[in-house]
């Protein structure tokens, strides 16, 4: 995160490139792109100090549509390039755009390490539970039984849960949003940007062509309010059309349960209050799945720790202080030397 001071107020136009956006009509990516272009000026970002790095896949075309600096790299390796960019110039705002295949299949190893190192970048993982650009094969986040060209009889593998993976990898910031959530997506982006360290954001993104309505069980208009819970730090974990449902902790099974306020003697005070610095709670929240539970969105975990870059620079400064000014001639002469006359 960096504060960029600018005299003039930048607008959405300043972050929009002249390139024609080439996602399928109706793709969830459009909404995410617009939201980013709209939100960046509010964060104090500037095009020259912002870098969008991506891997390969539909979502990874993102940098071309931003008028910032950008690097469309190779499949799965975005986190590595972003790490190099950020270490080389800590003043840059580095965003990584990736997908479920790019970020959790071919690039899963890099995702693990960029999170555990706490490199100060913002990671947007567009999860559509399918390989779109290669025409619809199942992905590592596809639900078991997904029929696709490569799994005509249904996939037999268990899926990976991105936010659980992130927390397990040691991420210090984990948030979740939906491509259609134009109200709360900007807030998540701003929070991710503010967080110093690796910020992991999973965005449920609908692939109209190969996996339409895969998230309908919690995003469809008729069920959304009853199946989505927007977590807010310090507020009770309440949801539902009438805002009468909430999460309570069952202390005997050490698990979360849905309770209805006003039923069985449950009052608002009995509902768990969200504490985004509580890793255990975060782990429980990201493992809840509809329809039994609501899908928890918002900033689920935020407990900053020193960043990789800061740690390196701190150590380097210490070494420099101790060793004094660097001199190559001294360095190569520091061992046993002898004179030939």
């Amino acid at each position: 995160m960096n504060k960029n001071i600018s005299n003039e107020q930048l607008t959405i136009k300043d972050f929009t490139s002249d390139q024609e956006v080439r996602w399928c009509p109706g793709c969830g990516d459009y909404a995410i792109l617009k939201c980013m272009q709209r939100t960046l000026p509010n964060m104090g970002a500037t095009p020259e100090n912002t870098v969008f790095v991506s891997g390969i896949g539909c979502s990874s075309r993102f940098p071309y549509y931003m008028s910032t600096y950008g690097f469309h790299t190779i499949h799965g390796r975005g986190p590595t390039i972003a790490t190099g960019v950020k270490l080389a110039n800590p003043d840059l705002d580095v965003w990584l755009v990736t997908g479920d295949g790019d970020g959790l299949s071919i690039g899963g190893n890099h995702m693990l390490h960029v999170l555990r190192r706490n490199v100060d970048i913002n990671i947007l993982l567009f999860n559509n539970e399918i390989y779109g650009l290669t025409k619809g094969q199942y992905s590592p986040t596809s639900k078991q039984g997904t029929r696709s060209p490569s799994t005509p009889y249904g996939s037999v593998e268990a899926a990976v849960s991105p936010c659980e993976f992130a927390l397990g990898s040691g991420a210090r910031f984990v948030a979740r949003t939906v491509d259609t959530a134009q109200k709360h997506m900007p807030i998540v982006f701003e929070r991710a940007h503010q967080n110093k360290g690796a910020s992991f954001v999973e965005i449920f993104q609908n692939c109209l062509v190969y996996n339409d309505e895969v998230f309908a069980d919690f995003t469809a208009k008729d069920v959304a309010k009853d199946r989505q819970l927007l977590a807010t730090h310090g507020e009770p974990l309440i949801f539902g059309k009438e805002m009468d449902k909430g999460l309570v902790l069952d202390t005997t099974s050490l698990s979360l349960k849905v309770a209805t306020i006003g039923e069985n003697g449950i009052s608002k005070e009995d509902i768990l209050v969200h504490d985004e610095t509580n890793r255990m709670l975060a782990m429980m929240l990201v493992s809840l799945n509809p329809p039994e539970f609501p899908m928890v969105l918002g900033v689920i975990y935020a407990d900053p720790a020193p960043t990789f870059g800061d740690a390196i620079r701190e150590q380097t400064a210490e070494v420099r202080k101790k060793k004094g000014p660097a001199d190559l001639n001294n360095l190569i002469r520091q061992g046993r030397t002898w004179e030939v006359k």
Binding site: E48, M66, Y69, G70, H72, L87, T316, G324, E339, V340
Partner: protein, 631 residues
Amino acid sequence: MNVPVNKGAETAKHFEEAEEVVIRFAGDSGDGMQLTGSQFTASAALAGNDFATFPDFPAEIRAPTGTTFGVSAFQINFGSGEILTAGDQPDVLVVMNPAALMVNLKDLREGGILVIDTGAFTKRNLQKAGYDENPLDGDSLARYHHIELDISSHTLEAVKEFGLSNKEAIRSKNMWTLGLMLWMFGRPRQQIIDWLNDKFASKPDIAAANVAALNAGHAFGETAEMSADLKRYHIAEAKTEPGTYSTVTGAQALAWGLVAGSQLADLPLFLGSYPITPASPLLHQLAALKEFEVTSFQAEDEIAAIGAAIGASYAGSLGITSSSGPGIALKGEAMGLAISAELPLVIVNAQRGGPSTGLPTKTEQSDLYQAIYGRNGDAPMPVISSRGPGDCFYVAIEAVRLAVKYMTPVMLLTDGYITNAAEPWKLPDATKLRSFPATFATEADGMDENFDKFARDPETLTKPWVKPGTKGLEYRAGGLEKSFETGHISYDPDNHQKMTDTRFDKVAAIAKDIPQQKVYLGEDTGPLAVVGWGSTFGPIDKAVKQAIKEGKKVSHIHLRHLNPFPENLGKLLADFDKILVPEMNMGQLSTVLRDRFLLDVIQLNKVTGQPFKIVEIHGAIDQALSAKGEK
């Protein structure tokens, strides 16, 4: 114990003069042979000898003790003349156990000195080494001047006053042996004593025991009436160029050269690397140089290592990545990205025996195809190689220069031998090296309507280096083909042809910017040229020198630049009747030369994991000269 320690304090009259001597220390991996060898090397360096070393150790960190595959050896060739190889055959072989004898005896020259620690020749050790009978009993060693000493018990005796456990005490037997060897060559001990005291500063008992063992070994030579039995050699100082010298390994010189290169280019250095044998020493070296604007990043894998280096270059640093063949294979796709995005990058490959995991600790030159061709698509990349440890310094600077000037990844080839071997190196004055500062597009360029960030320099064909943070020049890099004019994604067929041509022309243009190929030794034309690259320099040069001395017409051509070749190379080679190419691979340079210049070459290939012997190349020279027919 008070001992004379000054150089020359021991008179030369008991010594037999020798021009050069090859010693090999061989023992179990746990016997400390690499340490013994490197300390003996230091003593040779301080005595003003020229030298070359060859550390040869097993891939296992601690292979089962006493086995033949756990044998570790260190060979040093030192002398008063020019030393270019670690020597064909040891004159002196020191073996610390039966397995070391089993593995190494075949290399000892007939009549050579064989020093044996009989204390380690137990029934069990003999069995483990595969001896049915004790070789010390029969007359199988009669061809050698063998000296049987119970080094183990001599050592235990020497260190008993320190109250160490038997296991700890016996560890000093390498120092006892070293002491004896120092006596044999009339070498001072003080610097090694200092080194031991420094190394074991926190364990004074161990330090004292090692010093005692060293002194005891030396005293043994002095007092045990061995003089009749054992020749002592005096090796005069080598006549070398005046200057300040130090002992360097390839990894050291390479690290220093990369730092020098980054300073000359005025760029912070970013190394992304992943541990792999035999390339890791470079990572270790650079990781310790934080005061030199060096960021070293040990990545999660080979791909992440190059990825981070590319990211750093994109952001305006000098990205470097280092590995060995298998790791280089993993980096292939990312190299293509750096070529496509036109970013500077130095890729160091310390070659080892292949394919697959191959021979991690043994040397080979079999990644030349990989370096020149090993990427998807038409992906040309400059390739240069180092011929020895000290040369790594200059090759590293050249790699950085080309990468920055031509905005391209450059492959720098060394090998396991060069990385670990040591030689005396005349220290350069770093302030006198010619700089080549990198230039970046500026904010002023960003405000200049006429500035075109995709316009190419007519000579180098490079675009300006635009780094993020520069206002007004925002652009999107990437691996998808880009328009020559606008830098946007382009699938236009003519544009792809044009961009591919540009990438080729850019690398080809480097041929004009590198020195013309010279003949290193011999005439510029004649019946035979021996053409080599990389670490075969030493044995080729010695063999050619020998042949010339014998009146044979032969020349030595050593290639540093392997892609592109120097402009005049084709013509130069055509002026020889025959071309002999010795390589530690199955003929990779040979086929590249045939391909580029349509000329035939005679191949001499060796892939045993060991460097060429002078005699092998000399034999091939004779054969090529005597064989009938022109090329």
